[in-house]
């Protein structure tokens, strides 16, 4: 049963010709034995406080002239002990931690965690909640890609796309704020539902934003896609083949840029993603430029999904009717004793998950985001593990930059779309 519909195929820009070959690469170290040409090796430390490392990543590079012959990433400069803290929080208290982990797409993380716990508890959320979460996740996919696009453009030397992207991000911030009251740290989901129903007019606000957003995307794309500087710095840089990419555990747009059609929304669909009509962009060269094209197209496809989800948004309750996880209504609470006790127990003891474990993977904005929760029957997780997409994506960076130029390190790093909060956790 093939659920895949790969219609969109990214191709090279016509200006560069279909037989575009990467520019002549730098001399490999083996060619450098000429005593006149060879230089002394040199260690360069990039980070942890460096504007182009997108956080507190630290790369130690060994250079031969301008050629990187060795790259040693050092991470952990933002290790905030999320997984340990999660063992000391009740199931619902973990949710505020999740959005501080990937602050570029907080709602995706909220949803992923809630889904894993719901699967562990055997809860099927309501239709309205499903569709709402789909809208939120796709919105945050765009939200995250926009920040990537802005910083990517800065790294390539263009500042304007950053301003355009942030203008659109501000609109998503407003939507976040309208729903959850916070701009970044949303904490919107609860086990078994959402924090509240949509505020009035929120769906309409999302629709308006989705309608006008592609124009900005076109504008940004017209600045970058056919830009000679951008093409020169990204095409043929940091390429990785499909077998290598799978073996190294790449996921998300980075894997698809290498030509591997692996998207969890199609392969292991959740929340009725199989009923939405959207395409998965697949690259063919696996280089930085393809990663750029794939992400740009993903934003358009996310807009398509949001439109379909808004059209099918059903009425009905947002939260499941399950007394194990959902608080009684305020009216009941004030009127009968049982609801009062119920409310008290849920608040004071927290939700109690049955013994067992569950691993739930969704397609995050960075790649495969897995949440692995282990319960012993108590009100707190025994283990809460995040399968971090950018952590695994970043681990290939030595393979991508070694043998390339120092300037390409910045582009490769930007093209991987990392977020250090989730790498270091």
């Amino acid at each position: 049963m093939s659920k895949r519909t790969v219609e969109y195929e990214v191709s090279r820009t016509p200006e560069m010709g279909m037989d575009f070959r990467p520019a002549q690469g730098p001399l490999s170290p083996s060619e450098m034995d000429d005593p006149i040409l060879s230089t002394e090796k040199m260690l360069i430390n990039v980070g942890p406080q460096h504007p182009a490392t997108h956080g507190v990543l630290r790369l130690v590079l060994e250079l031969d002239g301008e050629t990187v012959i060795r790259c040693l990433p050092h991470i952990g400069y933002l290790h905030s002990s999320f997984e340990k803290l999660g063992e000391y929080r009740t199931w619902n208290q973990v949710i505020p931690l999740t959005d501080r982990m990937d602050y570029l797409a907080p709602l995706i993380y909220n949803c992923a965690y809630a889904m894993a716990v719901e699967k562990l508890m055997g809860i099927e959320v309501t239709e309205r909640c499903k569709v709402t979460r789909v809208i939120m996740m796709e919105m945050d996919r765009i939200f995250s890609h926009l920040l990537w696009l802005g910083t990517w453009a800065i790294d390539v030397g263009a500042f304007t796309p950053f301003l355009y992207a942030f203008q659109q991000r501000e609109k998503v911030y407003e939507l976040h704020e309208a729903y959850t009251g916070a701009r970044i740290t949303t904490s919107a989901t609860r086990i078994g539902g959402m924090m509240s129903d949509m505020p009035e007019g929120w769906a309409e606000g999302v629709r308006q934003w989705t309608n006008q957003f592609p124009r900005t995307l076109d504008e940004i794309e017209s600045l970058l896609s056919h830009n000679a500087i951008h093409i020169g710095r990204t095409q043929g840089v940091g390429a990785i083949g499909p077998e290598d990419a799978v073996n190294c555990g790449l996921s998300g747009p980075n894997l698809r840029a290498s030509g591997v059609p692996y998207d969890l929304r199609k392969d292991r669909p959740y929340y009725d993603y199989e009923t939405y009509e959207f395409d998965v962009p697949i690259g063919e060269h696996g280089d930085c430029y393809d990663r750029y094209l794939v992400r740009i197209e993903e934003m358009r496809q996310s807009c398509r999904i949001i439109h379909q989800a808004l059209d099918r948004l059903p009425d009905g309750p947002m939260n499941v009717d399950d007394p194990r996880v959902i608080l009684p209504s305020k009216t009941d609470l004030m009127n009968d004793m049982e609801s009062m006790i119920h409310h008290f127990k849920l608040v004071m003891e927290g939700v109690q998950a049955p013994p067992g474990e569950s691993h739930f993977s969704i397609e995050g904005s960075k790649g495969e985001l897995g949440m692995y929760v282990v319960s012993d029957g108590g009100s707190k997780p025994v283990r809460w593990r995040i399968r971090p997409p950018s952590f695994v994506n970043l681990s290939v960076i030595p393979r991508l930059v070694e043998g390339g130029l120092l300037a390409d390190v910045i582009m490769v790093n930007a093209s991987l779309d990392i977020v250090l909060g989730e790498i270091d956790r």
């Binding site: 997984e83 340990k84 803290l85 699967k119 073996n247 194990r324 569950s358 012993d376 025994v382 593990r385």
Partner: protein
């Protein structure tokens, strides 16, 4: 589906009772083992026999097989290479510590992109012998994931190309943070942690060779000394508040 050995969960004491009977019924349904069989599990049983220690189904459709740590590499290699299995995508390597001296489980999440099936493989390591073969030769994705497990749990991966701490500083001397016996705020006092943090130079750890050849992996000192945290040498902070931080006071948990 042999249940000779109880799983980690069944040894757990009975938890607080659910507030209503429906809840407890639902919880038993989730961990039931009557889900449909997984083809990989049957194939692995016929091929490896007793090396597959047991099989569990979690959360409805998640199949877990337990393997012995000595044969784990062989089984994982078969899972990756066998044309009927083809688990070419290693999604995650992690570990779970259940506390109170129970073995630490190393967990492999496998997925096959061509065949679209998933399985979870677990190996239980006793606390006295935390060693297992590295799977980096099979999946390069395991490189950093195994380093993280080493850092957080102290599990040693044999034949790993570069087994160092990855998230915590190289000179971190408080142990492995995700173990259950590790207190949330660390073993040292905040003052001592701050002092140690500022004592390290930002230039440290340029390249692993800085440590010289034959560098030994850092051990947790109090574990070698018999389970007692050694008193912290704090020449400038000798106030009693600090001392109480790492005294092993038998304090009632509830």
């Amino acid at each position: 589906m042999s249940d000779e050995r109880p799983s980690g969960f069944k040894e757990v004491q009975q938890g607080p009772e659910a507030s209503d009977p429906e809840a407890s019924e639902a919880s038993t349904a989730v961990t039931g083992v009557d889900a449909e069989a997984h083809p990989t599990v049957d194939a692995a049983r016929t091929r490896f026999g007793d090396a597959i220690l047991r099989h569990e189904v979690m959360a409805g459709d998640e199949h877990v097989i337990f393997v012995g740590p000595d044969r784990s590499y062989e089984i994982l290699e078969w899972l990756k290479e066998d044309p009927d299995q083809l688990y070419n995508y290693l999604s995650d390597v992690t570990a779970v510590d259940y506390g109170s001296g129970r073995p630490i489980q190393v967990v492999y999440q496998l997925y096959s992109i061509p065949l679209r099936h998933a399985i979870r493989v677990k190996a239980e390591l006793p606390l006295s012998h935390l060693e297992i073969d590295s799977v980096v030769p099979l999946w390069k994705a395991a490189d950093w994931l195994e380093r993280e497990v080493y850092d957080m749990f102290g599990v040693t991966f044999r034949n790993h190309p570069d087994l160092r701490r990855i998230l915590m500083p190289e000179a971190y001397a408080e142990g492995h943070p995700l173990r259950k016996d590790f207190p949330l705020r660390g073993r040292f006092s905040r003052a001592e942690q701050t002092r140690r943090a500022l004592a390290q130079a930002p230039e440290d750890y340029y390249v692993p060779e800085d440590y010289g050849p034959g560098r030994e992996f850092q051990k947790v000192r109090w574990q070698e000394l018999g389970g007692e945290p050694e008193p912290v040498e704090t020449p400038e902070s000798g106030d009693p508040a600090d001392e109480s931080e790492h005294s092993t006071d038998p304090h009632e948990g509830a």
